[in-house]
């Protein structure tokens, strides 16, 4: 049973990593789009 909690925690950390990476990518693209429009 303890194993399932370890898998859950690893999955949550992985998702957090992917999520913040995508958010950062989104912001970078927004900055580039803005700079390009100016």
């Amino acid at each position: 049973m303890a194993d399932i909690y370890i898998v859950l925690i690893v999955s949550l950390i992985s998702w957090a990593g992917i999520f913040f990476y995508l958010i950062r990518l989104d912001l970078c693209l927004k900055k580039m789009e803005k700079r390009y429009e100016e």
């Binding site: 194993d3 399932i4 909690y5 898998v7 859950l8 999955s11 949550l12 998702w15 999520f19 995508l22 958010i23 990518l25 989104d26 693209l29 580039m32 789009e33 390009y36």
Partner: protein
């Protein structure tokens, strides 16, 4: 629009919590059955991405807009990555139920052929220099490649005897899934589709900026 992204973040946290803590395990499989909440949505997104790639390839051949070709590439790439992830999760399931990661089961063979077909799509693209010619050839290939998807994903694994668990909805046994499992499964399908939409839009925006910059550089 930003709110949707944060909602997706929370949604996927709930899906993970639901998959590991809320949904019961399937009889005989134990905790291993929880892989269904990731393996099937990954495969679903792969097929969806290939379908969108095919639609955009048809649009390119009709209208000749390179924009459609770019959307097709983005979707084919995402489809390939998600199919690869579905293959990996499937192999993990196989290891703990059948004893080996890979045994050329009809399901595994058909997904391998699918990966080869879409791998060839990118090899074809990299082999042609001329932009218009490349887009035209890749579009035709993408349409033909998608025709093989229903055969490889849905028909062949059902025709031949396979070790793969029965589909959730089958013609012989109808619908079979615990209601709690189904709730998490549906939520996962929605969540993964959302992630796909987000990645596709990011990738597309990146390609648009890159094309603009390259155009500007070429024009001096």
């Amino acid at each position: 629009m930003n709110l949707c992204k944060y909602l997706l973040g929370i949604w996927m946290i709930l899906v993970l919590l639901g998959a590991f803590l809320y949904a019961p395990t399937a009889l005989g499989l134990g905790h291993l059955s929880r892989i269904i909440y990731f393996h099937v949505p990954l495969a679903w997104v792969g097929v969806l991405a290939y379908f969108i790639a095919m639609l955009n390839s048809i649009s390119y051949l009709k209208r000749g807009s390179l924009l459609n070709d770019q959307i097709a590439v983005v979707n084919a790439e995402i489809g390939l990555i998600f199919t690869l992830l579905a293959t990996v999760t499937g192999a993990v399931f196989a290891r703990y139920t059948w004893g080996v990661f890979w045994n050329w089961d009809p399901r595994q063979t058909s997904i391998f052929v699918l990966l080869l077909i879409y791998g060839a799509y990118f090899i074809l693209r990299s082999a042609v220099e001329d932009e218009e010619k490349r887009a035209r050839m890749a579009s035709v290939f993408s349409i033909i490649a998608f025709i093989s998807v229903p055969f490889l994903v849905f028909i062949i694994p059902r025709v031949y005897a396979t070790l793969h668990p029965d589909p959730i909805i089958s013609f012989e046994s109808g619908f079979q899934m615990d209601s709690k499992m189904f709730q998490v499964f549906l939520a996962s399908l929605i969540g993964f589709t959302g992630i796909y939409g987000w990645i596709a839009s990011l990738y597309y925006r990146y390609l648009v900026i890159r094309t603009r910059i390259e155009g500007d550089l070429n024009n001096g």
